[in-house]
């Protein structure tokens, strides 16, 4: 009887473990499935197509080039944008396709942007660029993110990826030394009473919702950054980094401090009994002993920084351009949060945002794996 109950409990735990794992895997699969339709979607606005003269050998034009051609930044092309009002002065609607066909056939260097319903199909001298999809190279290396541009929306995620990395890495570079410093202070140096007050206070900070931090950043930090660095606006990547660092600190401090305190007293005593000073004991025994806990603390901190949306949306100026530290930037999570609501369901923009989600997932995965490897190596080196 007793055994049967125990077996039952074991099975419940095993099942819940399995279900959780499967659900998480399904979420990841969903993310990737929704996203990767993107690279089969046409690069031009939905409902339109591109045509060129049949003598033109070109088969593919990237979204960035399309934009340049229509902005007349590339020589040798004649951009043509469908204009219904102009055409209807002389032609009936049924004649549109025919007229467009003529125009294209007459102009060797034309690049025409035409609604699908007026496409001059099967007209001699007209070539429809049907294989013109969004390609990964443009997506990952493109430097412009303008999802609503016509004729071709620009989905270059490089500025967003770099923006995310810049803001989070600077945040971590600020938060790590501070956090570990405070953790050392709390675990090794602080008097019992100071510690008993400080530790719960810091733990409390971890629970404050991020909008509140964002609000603080906007009202207090933005003007300070603006004045200190003499900028025209204070909403910069650096401001975001500072706020993220402040937000990551409580996590880093509490996790690292717990790890350090778990160093057995016997280890500290062994070190001190050999004449090591307090500091030597801290960096030669306590830190190596708790290194995996400390790196877990940093990874959790990075996780918080990279995934954080609200705060960066509020204080970084939210401009999707190639990032620099004292300029406005935009991160991946902020982009997804700001744009998913207005992106038509299932459209290119929607898919692009899902791919952004995948990119974010891969970045965090990469960071966790790196941290894992580093802490393993540190641990082995300690031996």
């Amino acid at each position: 009887m007793r055994r049967a109950i125990e077996r039952g409990i074991e099975m419940i735990f095993a099942a819940s473990g399995m279900v959780t794992t499967v659900v998480i895997l399904l979420i990841v699969a969903f993310l990737f499935k929704e996203g990767f339709g993107l690279f089969k979607s046409p690069a031009v606005e939905k409902g339109y197509a591109l045509c060129v003269n049949a003598d033109n050998p070109v088969e593919f034009i990237s979204a960035a080039d399309i934009k340049k051609i229509f902005n007349e930044e590339i020589e040798g092309w004649v951009p043509y944008r469908f204009d219904g009002d102009e055409l209807s002065e002389k032609y009936e609607e049924e004649q549109f396709a025919g007229r467009l066909g003529e125009i294209i056939a007459e102009t060797p260097k034309i690049l025409a942007f035409i609604p699908e319903e007026y496409l001059p199909r099967n007209v001699k001298g007209v070539k429809i660029l049907s294989g013109n999809t969004v390609i990964p190279k443009d997506f990952f290396l493109g430097k412009e993110w303008i999802p609503t541009a016509t004729p071709a929306p620009q989905f270059g995620v490089l500025p967003l990826i770099l923006g995310t990395l810049l803001v989070s890495l600077v945040a971590i570079f600020i938060a790590t030394p501070l956090g570990i410093g405070v953790a050392i202070y709390l675990s090794e140096l602080a008097q019992g009473r100071v510690r008993d007050i400080l530790k719960p206070a810091i733990e409390l900070l971890a629970g404050i919702p991020s909008v509140v931090y964002g609000f603080f950043g906007l009202v207090v930090l933005v003007p300070i950054v603006q004045r200190t660095f003499n900028l025209s606006v204070g909403e910069t990547a650096f401001t975001g980094s500072i706020i993220l660092a402040i937000m990551a600190l409580p996590t880093i401090i509490t996790v690292a401090e717990d790890a350090m305190r778990s160093t057995p007293r016997a280890m500290r005593e062994a070190s001190l009994a050999l004449g090591a000073t307090h500091w030597q004991t801290i960096y030669k025994v306590v830190i190596p002993y708790s290194i995996s806990g400390i790196s877990a603390a940093i990874v959790l901190g990075i996780g918080r920084a990279i995934g954080e949306t609200m705060v960066v949306l509020m204080v970084t100026g939210n401009a999707a351009k190639m990032p620099s530290l004292f300029d406005a930037v935009r991160t991946i999570p902020a982009t997804i949060a700001a744009e998913l609501g207005e992106a038509p369901f299932g459209g290119v923009h929607y898919q692009a945002l899902f791919v952004l989600g995948c990119v974010l997932f891969v970045i965090t995965l990469f960071i966790s794996i790196t941290a894992e490897l580093i802490s393993k190596r540190q641990h082995n080196k300690g031996l």
Partner: protein, 250 residues
């Protein structure tokens, strides 16, 4: 010459009076054993000799303790320097999670010794001194945790020997060991005596009788009797000592 002179020492853990008016002298290059029932204050006394009790919050000490004629609890006393002079082997083996070599080299490194050859030689010498060299000479790079309990304890002894202290404090160094490892450690104490002053805590009467020159008997924080080991075991002054030694309590 007395290397340790304890004068009228009282020690408190908070309100708890753990050592009561303890006075004793330890001669240089002798082996002193402390015996007594569990909780009587043996470890407490041992740990005040290298100021390990400083780590425990809310403790208080009165009285005087001189080592090499210097008051180790004086305001200007250098605790780190004291601990280099007074090595300690703990009740439970506590090697660092480092290699065998690094465990022994640790005390040298924290004392700023850099010479590679010097460290190498001292590590070998210390491991030989702790009768461990033959067993580990081919695997100095392996983790200390791969050693058996007895080997770990001898590693901790080697680690303490590496900085060449004047005094070696050993708190039940053989309590977790098998008879063979125990006798190895006893032999070791015998040989170490020529160079070091050894103070050992033990629950094993035979061991105290075998290795020590002088024995102290503690009970409830008091040093009941402190005399020549032979005399203590053959003809103790106090009845309590007699009872304890013959196993009537404790």
């Amino acid at each position: 010459m007395n290397i340790i002179e304890a004068q009228d020492i009282n020690f408190y853990y908070g309100d708890f009076h753990a050592l009561k008016n303890v006075s004793l002298n330890v001669a240089k290059n002798s082996v002193t054993a402390f015996i007594g029932p569990s909780g009587c204050g043996k470890s407490t006394f041992l740990r005040l000799l290298n100021r390990m009790n400083d780590l425990i919050p809310d403790t208080k000490l009165t009285g005087k303790c001189l080592i090499n004629q210097e008051d180790i609890y004086a305001k200007k006393a250098d605790v780190d320097a004291l601990r280099k002079k007074v090595g300690m082997v703990f009740q439970k083996p506590n090697p660092f999670p480092k290699s065998i070599f690094e465990n022994v080299a640790y005390g040298l490194r924290v004392n700023g010794i850099k010479g590679k050859d010097f460290i190498q030689n001292r590590v070998e010498e210390s491991l030989k001194g702790a009768a461990l060299w033959e067993e580990v000479k081919d695997k100095l790079g392996r983790s200390a945790y791969d050693l058996s309990g007895g080997q770990q304890q001898r590693l901790c002894i080697a680690r303490a020997l590496a900085i060449k202290p004047d005094i070696l404090l050993m708190d039940e160094p053989a309590s977790a060991l098998d008879p063979i490892s125990t006798s190895k450690i006893e032999d070791l104490i015998y040989t170490l005596k020529t160079e070091y002053t050894i103070v050992i805590v033990t629950h094993n009467m035979q061991q105290a009788a075998r290795v020590s020159d002088t024995t102290g008997f503690f009970m409830l924080g008091e040093l009941i009797e402190f005399s020549d080991t032979k005399k203590m075991f053959l003809n103790p002054d106090k009845e309590q000592t007699q009872n304890y030694i013959t196993g009537r309590f404790g």
